[in-house]
């Protein structure tokens, strides 16, 4: 009798656990997003607003996200891809069109973000945040050494690198590093002319002996604790390194700046994945995030650039005035977004990248 009772109660406990959310009408929004790209604060406010729960999974790279979706990851209502990844998802017909009736706050998006090449007129993608690929550096050390901080020459020219040997990291990304080299040489990041690629390869190989390593994430900590002095990386990461160094009261400060030759701009957008089951909640979330005060969180807490016009007045002056986060109009002219190459070109580039690594 006792065992029967025990069994019954355990079965009902399981049933309760499964059914409770349904009974309470608990609703869940599944979000697949860059790591540390949405502050806890913002999430909690949205959860209170919608009486629902936000379930987040994270990726650290567009390619990772695409690969996992391609391999069958499903159930996500919202993704936050960069422009070229939006294009890839659109070509795969993996996205749901937006219902603009449900997005009254869409009017807040700045005019120059409304017609990207991958989605003119924002039919699928709502811009959320922007980052730049630039140079972060130990400002104290570089001032001591008398080195310039506004040019890619810092990571490519031996005359500067001689003073920085083993203290420089560059991104472990064939597209990003090639883009930096192309910009320094005065070409477009979309360049596919083999002669210019060869030129960029020579430039990289000449500089490589001076670099410490290729790094996509460890540079944040390395900069903040002083292991390295110059890093090629993303503006929001540099912002974090800067804050970390400040909080740890290091005897130096971290700064970041857009090289004068131009750089890569990434615009990350909210898109609705077809695999999601709650487009209604997803729309609610996007509209919430488009509200000026909420949109400003992305800049205030993570140091991302903001495509939202209504957010401007809510952004703290220190961040709004940082040209490494919000580039002035002159610099904007020299920014380019990365677009995907076709498979053949990708393979040739990857072959070149492997060669760069081996030498």
């Amino acid at each position: 009798m006792r065992t029967l009772l025990a069994r019954f109660s355990s079965v009902s406990a399981v049933l309760l656990a499964v059914l409770a959310p349904l009974a309470h009408g608990e609703e869940v929004l599944y979000l697949y997003i860059w790591n540390s790209y949405l502050s806890e604060d913002t999430v909690r406010r949205f959860e209170a607003h919608c009486h629902c729960r936000v379930n987040q999974d994270f990726y650290s790279d567009n390619e990772e996200m695409l690969a996992k979706l391609e391999a069958g990851a499903s159930g996500y209502d919202l993704l936050v891809p960069t422009g070229n990844a939006v294009e890839a998802l659109l070509r795969q017909q993996a996205l749901r069109p937006l219902d603009k009736q449900k997005l009254p706050n869409l009017k807040n998006v700045k005019a120059r973000f409304r017609d990207p090449w991958y989605d003119p007129g924002m039919r699928y993608a709502v811009p959320y945040a922007t980052t730049l690929t630039l140079l972060g550096y130990n400002a104290t050390k570089l001032a001591e050494l008398g080195l310039p901080t506004d040019t890619w020459a810092l990571i490519f020219e031996p005359r500067y690198l001689e003073k920085l040997k083993g203290k420089v990291t560059v991104l472990n990304s064939q597209r990003e590093l090639m883009a930096a080299a192309m910009k320094y040489l005065g070409y477009s990041v979309q360049e596919t002319d083999p002669a210019r690629w060869a030129e960029a390869k020579r430039l990289i190989l000449r500089a490589k002996p001076y670099w410490a390593t290729f790094s996509n994430s460890t540079y944040i900590k390395d900069l903040a604790i002083g292991n390295i002095w110059v890093a090629h990386g993303y503006s929001s990461d540099m912002y974090r390194a800067q804050q970390d160094a400040r909080e740890a009261k290091r005897p130096f400060s971290i700064d970041f700046r857009l090289p004068k030759e131009g750089a890569v701009l990434a615009v990350d957008s909210f898109v609705l994945h077809k695999g999601g089951s709650r487009p209604d909640l997803a729309h609610q979330f996007i509209n919430f995030m488009l509200d000026g005060a909420n949109a400003a969180d992305g800049s205030n807490l993570i140091g991302a650039g903001n495509p939202n016009a209504a957010a401007t007045e809510h952004i703290v002056p220190e961040i709004a005035g940082n040209p490494g986060i919000f580039p002035p109009p002159d610099d904007l002219q020299r920014l380019e977004m990365l677009r995907d190459f076709d498979p053949k070109t990708r393979r040739i580039l990857s072959r070149m990248w492997t060669e760069i690594k081996v030498r």
């Binding site: 390619e63 064939q174 002996p209 410490a212 390593t213 498979p343 990708r346 081996v358």
Partner: protein
């Protein structure tokens, strides 16, 4: 038990044995063989325009080719990375062996009541996450100016894989019959001779098992070179990871994986052959 009876027993047990070995066999079929076959298929396909694979059947014709294999073998660069990875794996295995052997001997020779504790200490590092332990090496090596060097890669590899060498060695050494050593001593053999003629030959299966357990995972490791290595420390694991997660070239990634798997299977077969217990006593 006579030969005949043993034979009868094993016959009667046969169905049970099959039943017991069914789940692991199924598991291997589903999670090793099926993915391996998928990979072989993928290596003949073309990369898709926006990731994944182009369909194998396109416009009424089969869209398969040896192109990726041509690309792989038409170039010394991939072979060089394979060669380099084998060197790193061999060096790691050798260093692990040299470090683990005395340790395993010491544990096997310690008082029985301490042994469990000592073995527990060897596997204790597994209690914390692998990546966190590797990050700890960044902090250790950073100030010593050894971070981002080949030394850092080998140090990290040895550190992570050492327990995999210690455990099989210890298991083997623990079972040695001490009477053999005593007899040898009585017959006038010195410490070195006893080790060389008795302990070492008897421990060969342990050495082979430990070496395989270290060598093979090191060959596919990508996290350690990525976190601790410098600008030249690319191993085949990194290369494969790049094809899938950075470059969206599944066919090339599959081809690299297949060549690696083939090389590893070949080595495993070789080591099984060499490490097989001898039938007749010397």
């Amino acid at each position: 038990m006579t030969e005949k009876r043993r034979h009868q027993v094993s016959q009667r047990d046969a169905p049970t044995r099959w039943l017991v070995s069914l789940p692991p066999t199924l598991f291997l079929l589903v999670f090793f063989l099926a993915p391996a076959l998928l990979m072989i298929g993928a290596s003949f396909q073309q990369p898709g325009d926006f990731g994944g694979l182009a369909p194998a059947w396109q416009n009424g014709q089969l869209n398969l080719s040896l192109e990726t294999y041509h690309f792989f073998f038409g170039d010394w660069i991939y072979a060089e990375i394979f060669f380099r990875s084998f060197l790193v794996a061999a060096a790691t295995t050798l260093i692990c062996l040299l470090l683990a052997y005395p340790l395993a001997l010491a544990i096997a020779g310690s008082a029985r009541r301490h042994r469990h504790l000592l073995v527990l200490l060897v596997i204790l590092p597994f209690a914390s996450n692998f990546l966190i332990r590797v990050y700890a090496w960044i902090i250790l090596l950073g100030p010593a100016d050894l971070l981002y060097t080949p030394f850092a890669v080998i140090a990290g590899m040895v550190y992570v894989h050492l327990p995999f060498m210690v455990l099989p060695l210890y298991t083997n050494l623990d079972r040695h019959d001490l009477a053999l050593l005593e007899a040898a001593q009585d017959l006038g053999a010195g410490t070195w001779t006893r080790f060389r003629r008795i302990t070492l030959p008897l421990s060969l299966p342990g050495i082979w098992a430990g070496s395989a357990l270290v060598f093979i995972p090191v060959l596919g490791m990508f996290a350690i070179p990525e976190l601790l290595g410098g600008t030249r420390d690319i191993l085949v694991g990194n290369l494969i990871k790049e094809q899938f997660l950075d470059n969206r070239d599944w066919p090339l990634g599959s081809t690299l994986s297949i060549v690696l798997t083939a090389a590893v299977l070949l080595l495993a077969a070789l080591s099984a052959l060499v490490g097989r217990p001898r039938r007749s006593a010397p």
